[in-house]
Symmetry: C2
Subunit: 297 residues, 2 copies
Amino acid sequence: MTGGVPLFRRLALLGIGLIGSSVARVARERGDIAAEIVVNARTQKTLDRVVQLGFADRVEIDPARAVDGADCVMLAAPVGAFADLASRIAPHLMAGAILTDVGSTKQSVIRDVGPLVPAGVHFVPAHPVAGTEYSGPDAGFTTLFQGRWTLLTPPPGTDPDAVEKVAELWRRCGSMIEIMEPAHHDRVLAIVSHLPHLIAFTICGTADDLEAQSKQEVLNFAASGFRDFTRIAASDPVMWRDIFLNNREALLEMLARFTEDAQAMARAVRWGDAGYIEDMVQRGRKIRRSLIELKQA
Amino acid sequence: MTGGVPLFRRLALLGIGLIGSSVARVARERGDIAAEIVVNARTQKTLDRVVQLGFADRVEIDPARAVDGADCVMLAAPVGAFADLASRIAPHLMAGAILTDVGSTKQSVIRDVGPLVPAGVHFVPAHPVAGTEYSGPDAGFTTLFQGRWTLLTPPPGTDPDAVEKVAELWRRCGSMIEIMEPAHHDRVLAIVSHLPHLIAFTICGTADDLEAQSKQEVLNFAASGFRDFTRIAASDPVMWRDIFLNNREALLEMLARFTEDAQAMARAVRWGDAGYIEDMVQRGRKIRRSLIELKQA
């Protein structure tokens, strides 16, 4: 516990996977994020596990009860569940409360949740850009957000004090903060995260479709390249299904750009255009070096 | 040094990057692979560094001198350099010597090197399936091959004793051994390694082409997904250019399969086919789990 006055009296976490349980663990460890942590999940089994893990003051199977009296409510379920969750909690949100989320698609969250937010409740969409391939309440850890960015996409007219409180919550989790247009957020995330995941899932399927003999060999000889793709592809299926469906336009655009570029590479391979191939590989190295300089590698 | 009689009196390594310098380090540490290690590289600068690193008994800028009196010669340069190297060393290979390689494409090696091998020299193509994104003589380390596979693709009629000696060399490096048809090798490697690298290089290019503002953001927010692709994409450009050009048919076939599958995913995203997307993600997880069970993750 680092002491200091808690930002919130009661933080309600709706969903307690990798992100939610990491926030809970940081809040528990620091003590200056929320005086009380209430956790909601879809199943009693998950809530029982949360009780065992000990980072919640209270667990609630009913989201309406979980948000009761909470001055900060954080949606941390897969984005496809947000519309339903929001409609169930909306009548129970406290006047003056902040409603925020951690979803990877921001236009869809504003579309699905925005209209349901009662007057007097401050809606501050957010996205901590951090993750691993693990999911569930056991997967979280306190350093997940350190040195990573959290992107806030508040709709026009959002109370600046509410935006600042959400920013401060993420700063206390170790994040750097940036305010962004929701549409721009969705385009950037499509290329840095959503498309790489779609590609990783797809190539695992391509390999899985090869004849039975090759399949065993794919697994045996996956030492380089493929292995990294399967790590990405091990992520939570429902979360990713929801992200793809909720960032459709940007994802399809980035996939179209990538496919054009892959076809250009195919053409260079077919016609033996060594210079083109070498240039493309060099660009990959350059981007990698820039990442290392930015400490995002 | 583990003692024991050395497999070879003199091992000549032609090329001293990640793979070659790892073999040299293992041979130096164990002492039972070769009594003497001779290293050849294209530049004096590399050879000077090899002398500093201390894992060679002798360095030679002329490949013909490097193979003089060697009972094992290992081609460890990019595969595109093999034809030239082979033609320069062929007249100088000792009768009874073993000529082997570590190239990632095996049909091309047999095509390029096979016809140049003098009578009385045993040609045993091999491919240790191991690697990192680093290259050069500093990149090697003694545990690179431990628990990994080395694939041998000896042409029909190759002396079994020569094949066994190459297999034993790799076993002493920590590898498991499998004999494989060269064409089958090239297909399997196309899906587990060559295509993932082509995709990683390509998506880095796609990101690099986005407008200047997004580009910086790509780098800032690369925390998940993209970051793993850039790691793969950081590999040696000349080595990968040569691999792509020398495994053209298998690589183009696997890219075509992958592209069909990616288009099917695009269609599922466009039409909101949640079941299809979830199935595809589940398959990725299944493959990842199999890899973990096989200890190749």
